[in-house]
Symmetry: C2
Subunit: 196 residues, 2 copies
Amino acid sequence: MSRSRLVVLAGPTAVGKGTVAEEIRRHHPEVWISVSATTRPPRPGEENGVHYWFVSDEEFDAMIERGDLLEWAVVHKTARYGTPRGPVELALASGHPAMLEIDLQGARQVRQNMPEALFVFLKPPSWDELVRRLVGRGTESEAERERRLETAREELAAEREFDVTIVNHEVHAAADELVALMRFGLDQPDDAPNPF
Amino acid sequence: MSRSRLVVLAGPTAVGKGTVAEEIRRHHPEVWISVSATTRPPRPGEENGVHYWFVSDEEFDAMIERGDLLEWAVVHKTARYGTPRGPVELALASGHPAMLEIDLQGARQVRQNMPEALFVFLKPPSWDELVRRLVGRGTESEAERERRLETAREELAAEREFDVTIVNHEVHAAADELVALMRFGLDQPDDAPNPF
C-alpha cells in the first residue's frame, strides 16, 4: 500500500505512444492508465469514461479553475484535452502502477505539477523511420513536409529532458520494457541498495 | 454531454444499501458508482480500484488536507473510509449517471459539499423487518439489542432530511426504481415542463 510513482510516457508525434499504451491496456490490465477529459464529441464506438471523459466547454473551464487538471492543451485549434488529477492521485495513493500517455507539451506541464513522476521518452528506432511515419503517403506539399520535419527535429531534441528513454523497435517489446520499469520502481523497497 | 446530478443513496444500518448498489453494478453497468478509499487492508478477493482504493493513513491524511474527499468517517474505531471527489466530478461533468452508496453521516457531509445532489433514502419495508435484520441471530446481550434498536429509531427519523424515499421491498425492484430516477433526472431537458 505504499505510494507508487507516476510514469509519464511521451515522445515525438507519430512515434507510437498510443499503440504502446493500447498494448499495455490489453496485456497488462494491472496497470492503471489515465483517461483524458476532452471537449470534442465522441466518435462512433468511443465510450465515456473508457476512451475519454467527454465534457462540455463549461465543465472543462470549471476543471481548470478548480485545479483539477494536471495538464491540458488545445489540439487542432478547437478541442481541448486534459489529464484529470483526482484519479491519478487515487491510483498513486493506493500503490497502483499508473501511467499517462501524453505529448511533449503535456509532459512538461506534468513536470511542473508533479516533479516526482518518472518521465519516459519513447524514441523512434531511427530518424528515417520517424520521417516515414510522419510524412505519410507523400500527399502533402513540400512546405508542409518541411514543417513536419522541423517539428520532428525539435521533438527529438526533447529526449534530454527525460529520465529514461525506450526505443520503440517493436510495440510488444517497448510495452514490456515500460511495464518492467514500473514494476521495478514499484516493488523496490525503500532500503534496497541502488542497483545503478 | 450536459452535467448530471449526483444520486446519493443512504439509509439505516442493515437496510440493504450495499445489496441494491451491487444489483445496479451487475445489471446497469452504465451507472457509475463511486469507489471508496479506505485505510483498512484488503480482504481476500478484494481488488484495488474495484472494491476500494486501499491507501495508507498518510495518504488518507493527504487526501483530507487537499480537500480530495467529499466525505469521510472512522468505522469501528480503526479504519477510515472516504469518497474521493475527483472521480465523482469527472462522472458528473461528462453527464454520466452517477451514484454514491453511503451511510447517513456520510450523506450529511456530502450535502455540505454538494448540496445540488439528489438524496435518496432507502427505507425498510417495516420496522419489524429492520429489527430482524439488525438484531440478527439473537446472540447479542439485551443491552446491545437495546442500543441497536435505539440507533435504528434515530436512523429512520433521518428520512425527512432526504429528497426521495425508496422502500426496499425487494432488491431488484428497488434497484430499478433508483435507476429510473437517475435516468429521468438525467434525460429531462432544461426546458421540459415540470411533470409534478
